[in-house]
């Protein structure tokens, strides 16, 4: 755990997301020696291993620390174990798969912690589904004991759910009847949307604390198969082998290591080799600068495999992913993220074209692109104001342009920065790698902006930006590859505004200050609405409907008040509800 940096709230420590398989406390990751296309991921929670003091992780219940390890596993499976084509999610304990999120942890956590926890666990489960769907690593839940609440929600993220038939093990969503909250990690949504449980049955299921096992669980489609105890191990192995065989995963070879990130944290910011974040606490914002690639495309995929985690697209994505997670958990008061890129547009395009060419034939190229996609999705659901500043010397092209499109607003400087001496604005960045003061800022659309990185609601950021105007998106498609300057970007609707260098400093400063003065809650709600213009998917419904309601319930006294269900759980006393419907 990192000791530096501020804590997020009274009693909430700064969260560190670095994990290493050799030091997992709660999980076992095993590649089947007989069938290396199958990996076993076993939950074995260390009761004493809670991230925060004050609760014990009994009954294989989890907290954020447990889930951070699970996220690490999902990433390593995809990058370090490319030969794995099926993943069995199970428990190391007999008769108990997982009891879900730890209730004492939830009851004792401040609201922001609960919200962040919920968001991260949701993203991890979405990542599991992404592995099944796009990476040919099919997840199979092998419930060798009861899966309750978050435990069952974990299983729901898998493609197939197998439940042991031992006359006692069930799957259940007891949140509503026992805790007065929702199964908010995708539970309600996946039961209906993914498992297609009829909605009246879903209602019965979600209010029946003990859940269902055996045949009824299968009949109601809550699980795919119940398996007698005596045939359990063998059947699980078979199902996993079947899934591995059916996988369309690109042929693997040696995986690549994901070494610890090089990261420097100070009170003023976080620095990685390719990503820098500098905090302006007075202004309530963080300035994030992302470096483009140093050179052009690599000579071959072999070279990329050799570079591994040092290959720029992967390195920069890992750093950005880590930064997003840290800022979200640990810097609650930095409410605005100002995003810049820095580097050569040509290089960025060359690397992108290279990846594009190989993404359908090389597993690593493909994994990198999916990882970029997931990281951009993290940005989409980040409850901070995101502002892209597109300046001379930046390289918002293709995948990097998605960063800007993920922002709530985009400001692009029209013309070069003024070099005259009498009117130097504030030069806010320390190193002058850009150095190209005479160049104008340019953005470039590529094929990647038209489908490679869909948002959680299934459409591209451009599609969402221009929702209902397909003609315009089609017109933009024809602009792919061209360098677009500020005025034109403004005309094409790709940026919010394009002040020139004389206005730039003032416009940007005032806009950021204005933003910082608005209600953070209203901003979060507004931004979440505007970012997901367009259709909904199961994934977007989980965020927009399920967790939004969950977060509302979390602040209501009926859940979190002294007499609320979360607090009363396990005390032997009943919650005393305020009976008014709101």
């Amino acid at each position: 755990m990192t000791e530096s940096g501020p804590t997020t709230d009274a009693g909430s420590p700064a969260v560190d997301f670095d994990r290493d398989p050799s030091t997992y406390r709660h999980w076992q990751l095993e590649i089947d020696s007989e069938n290396p296309a199958v990996a076993y991921v076993r939950l074995d929670v260390d009761e004493e291993g809670g991230l925060v003091d004050g609760y014990e992780l009994k009954m294989n219940s989890y907290d954020l620390g447990v889930d951070i390890e699970l996220y690490d596993i999902t990433q390593r499976l995809r990058f370090t174990h490319p030969g794995v084509r099926a993943v069995v999610l199970t428990s190391a304990r007999d008769r108990n798969f997982c009891a879900g999120a730890n209730i004492r942890m939830l009851a004792g956590s401040p609201h922001p912690w609960k919200v962040n926890f919920c968001k991260f666990t949701n993203e991890t489960r979405n990542g599991i589904e992404d592995a099944t769907e796009h990476s040919g690593q099919t997840w199979v839940a092998a419930l060798n004991g009861t899966a309750a609440g978050g435990g069952y929600e974990m299983a729901l993220a898998c493609e197939t759910i197998l439940l042991i038939d031992d006359n006692s093990s069930t799957v259940a969503l007891p949140e509503v009847p026992l805790l007065g909250v929702l199964p908010g990690t995708g539970g309600l949504t996946r039961v209906t949307d993914k498992r297609r449980v009829r909605k009246d049955r879903a209602d019965v299921f979600a209010t029946k604390s003990e859940g269902f096992g055996g045949k009824q669980a299968v009949d109601w489609r809550l699980v795919d198969e119940v398996i007698p105890k005596r045939r359990w191990d063998e059947t699980v192995r078979e199902r996993a082998a079947d899934a591995a065989r059916a996988s369309t995963r690109l042929p693997g070879g040696a995986g690549i290591e994901l070494p610890p990130l090089q990261r420097t944290e100070t009170g003023e910011g976080i620095t990685y080799p390719h990503v820098r974040a500098s905090f302006d606490r007075a202004a309530g914002l963080v300035e994030i600068t992302i470096d483009g690639p140093d050179g052009g495309a690599p000579s071959s995929m072999e070279q990329v495999h050799e570079l591994g985690a040092d290959f720029w697209p992967l390195a920069v994505t890992r750093e950005l992913d880590d930064l997003i997670l840290r800022l979200r958990s640990n810097e609650l008061e930095l409410g605005t993220w100002v995003i810049r890129t820095r580097g050569d547009v040509g290089n960025a395009l060359a690397v992108e074209t290279f990846l594009e060419e190989h993404s359908s034939s090389d597993w690593l190229a493909s994994e990198i692109r999916h990882y970029v996609k997931r990281t951009l999705k993290r940005l989409d659901v980040t409850s901070r104001s995101l502002i892209a500043l597109i300046e001379p010397g930046s390289c918002f092209a293709g995948a990097l342009l998605e960063l800007a499109l993920a922002c709530d607003r985009q400001y692009m400087l029209d013309g070069p920065f003024d070099d005259s001496t009498d009117d130097t604005g504030d030069t806010d960045d320390t190193d002058g790698t850009a150095g190209s003061g005479q160049e104008e800022a340019r953005i470039v659309l590529t094929a990647a902006n038209f489908g490679t990185f869909p948002m959680g609601n299934g459409v591209t950021r451009l599609g969402s930006r221009f929702h209902g105007d397909d003609d315009h998106v089609a017109k933009l498609r024809q602009e792919a590859g061209r360098r677009i300057e500020a005025r034109e970007a403004l005309e094409l609707g790709l940026v919010t505004d394009a002040p020139d260098d004389i206005d730039w400093d003032d416009e940007v400063r005032i806009m950021l200050e204005e933003r910082a003065s608005l209600s953070p809650d209203a901003l979060t709600g507004m931004e979440a609405n505007h970012r997901f213009v367009g259709p909904e998917t199961m994934e977007s419904r989980i965020f927009s409907r399920l967790t939004a309601w969950q977060n509302w319930i979390f602040v209501r006294p009926n859940a979190s008040g002294p007499e609320g269900a979360l607090r009363k759980y396990g005390t032997g006393r009943r919650a005393d509800f305020d009976r008014r419907r709101v």
Binding site: D422, D506, R509, I510
Partner: protein, 470 residues
């Protein structure tokens, strides 16, 4: 495009070194000149003896000389201040003042500046035709002086918009020239600034009562935590003093002349003798005073309270007041109509800031009344002029839904309609006053309805040829 800015536009804001300002002014300035030519004084002149602000120091801040009007050098000046000015009121009290617009207050500050800025060119437009009927060259010169300075006040507000409010500010600055007094499609923002100033009696009344409202508004902005606004307004107040002088002495001279005519003809009815009868003067006071009170807005105002709390707009002479400058606990007496009579109620002081300012203004207006009554007294007359009740003839605020007589009695609509012409200038009164207006352009001569001033301008005699015609 290169312009010698410091020569063309006297300033103490380093215009020559500020690209942002130069760029903004490059497009705004020609539009301003164009506006001046079409909406400024209608009488063609060759040159006028004017003062031009050229500096901010105590001594010699202005130069006098004959200038062609369109070559007048409208400058940009901010009063000099110490470096350590602190916010004097509101929730940021004690903190250093702002040299930049905080984004949080951009919209409010911009609005305040735009409203103030909108009144400046408005009065020039309202007074556009007055030059055609000036009672003397001295008065004509004063009219032009007031006009060019209102033009400069517009510049001062535009400077703030250009320098601190980015592109949005430039657009607002442009719009200040697009709205026009009395224009049906795009009128000036405040109602009182859409009425034409039809005659010179109205002009003196306007400069006494309505310009005085401006003085009090500037006084509150002078307290602003936004330092450039504060300093700008402080300098404007310097010029405003002369505008008020024109009004005060103008009414002095009308009343003096009325006394002379009453004595000469031994009657109060001096209309047939080419003077303005005292009761007509009273009606003009009633009118201009009451419409000027409307400019202070509603007595109770949450906007004003918010501006105060945020530090955007203080009270008149905020720093000389001895309370806590937060006003969160204080009360304030407010007159209002209840159950058929005017009573005084206590309301939270924060919500009564418009009233507080208006009360300061009323006190100031009373000094003029005293002065005019001294003239009547000196001339041996018992008649007196007075300020009507604050509730009289109001369109804004607590009294706007009631009819109040000048003495403060609540009356019904029938009484109001029947007596209205006794209290406010009637059509006949206006026509009469307008008919008195004949230009007198000969140096040293003056119209018959007004007395000459006791002194000329800048040590020059009354007979001085202040204006050369084209």
């Amino acid at each position: 495009m290169s312009i010698d800015y410091s020569e063309k536009i006297p300033n103490n804001v380093d215009l020559a070194g500020d690209r942002k300002l130069q760029r903004a002014l490059e497009s705004w300035q020609p539009n301003f000149i164009n506006w001046w030519k079409t909406m400024g004084p209608a009488v063609p002149t060759q040159d006028v003896y004017l003062r031009t602000a050229v500096d901010v120091g105590k001594e010699g801040w202005a130069q006098f000389g004959h200038v062609a009007m369109e070559e007048y050098r409208w400058g940009v000046f901010l009063s000099e201040r110490g470096d350590d000015r602190r916010i004097a009121f509101g929730e940021n009290k004690g903190e250093p003042v702002w040299q930049q617009v905080p984004g949080e207050h951009r919209a409010d500050l911009q609005r305040l500046i735009v409203i103030q800025g909108d009144t400046e060119p408005a009065s020039v437009e309202q007074q556009r035709r007055l030059g055609e009927t000036a009672p003397s060259l001295y008065d004509l010169r004063n009219l032009f002086q007031v006009n060019v300075e209102e033009g400069r006040h517009l510049w001062a507000m535009v400077y703030l918009l250009h320098a601190y409010f980015g592109r949005n500010g430039r657009e607002e600055a442009e719009a200040l020239l697009q709205r026009n007094s009395g224009d049906l499609d795009s009128p000036r923002i405040l109602g009182a600034f859409n009425e034409e100033t039809p005659d010179w009696l109205s002009f003196y009344m306007f400069t006494y009562f309505t310009d005085r409202d401006g003085k009090y508004q500037l006084g509150t902005l002078k307290e602003s935590a936004f330092d450039p606004l504060s300093r700008t307004c402080e300098f404007m107040l310097k010029e405003e003093a002369h505008h008020m002088f024109v009004g005060t002495t103008g009414i002095d001279r009308v009343i003096q002349r009325t006394c002379e005519l009453m004595r000469e003809h031994d009657t109060a009815d001096i209309a047939p003798h080419g003077g303005v009868p005292l009761h007509v003067i009273q009606k003009y006071i009633n009118f201009h005073y009451s419409v000027s009170l409307d400019l202070f807005g509603s007595e109770q105002s949450t906007n004003a309270a918010n501006y105060f709390t945020a530090g955007l707009k203080g009270r008149w002479q905020e720093e000389r007041r001895s309370d806590d400058h937060l006003l969160t606990e204080d009360g304030y007496g407010m007159e209002q109509v209840r159950d058929g009579s005017v009573i005084t109620d206590e309301v939270p002081a924060l919500l009564a800031l418009n009233l507080d300012l208006r009360n300061e203004y009323v006190k100031d207006c009373q000094s003029g009344v005293k002065r005019w009554n001294r003239i009547l007294e000196k001339n041996g007359f018992d008649e007196r002029v007075y300020l009507p009740h604050v509730g009289f003839n109001r369109d804004v605020g607590l009294f706007s839904t009631h009819h109040i007589t000048p003495k403060g009695d609540l009356v019904g609509p029938d009484v109001w309609e029947a007596r209205r012409d006794d209290w406010l200038p009637s059509e006949a009164d206006r026509t009469f006053v307008q008919n008195l207006m004949r230009p007198v352009y000969e140096p040293g001569k003056i119209a018959g309805w007004i007395a000459p001033p006791s002194n000329g301008i800048n040590g020059k005699p009354f007979e001085y040829e202040y204006v050369h015609f084209a």
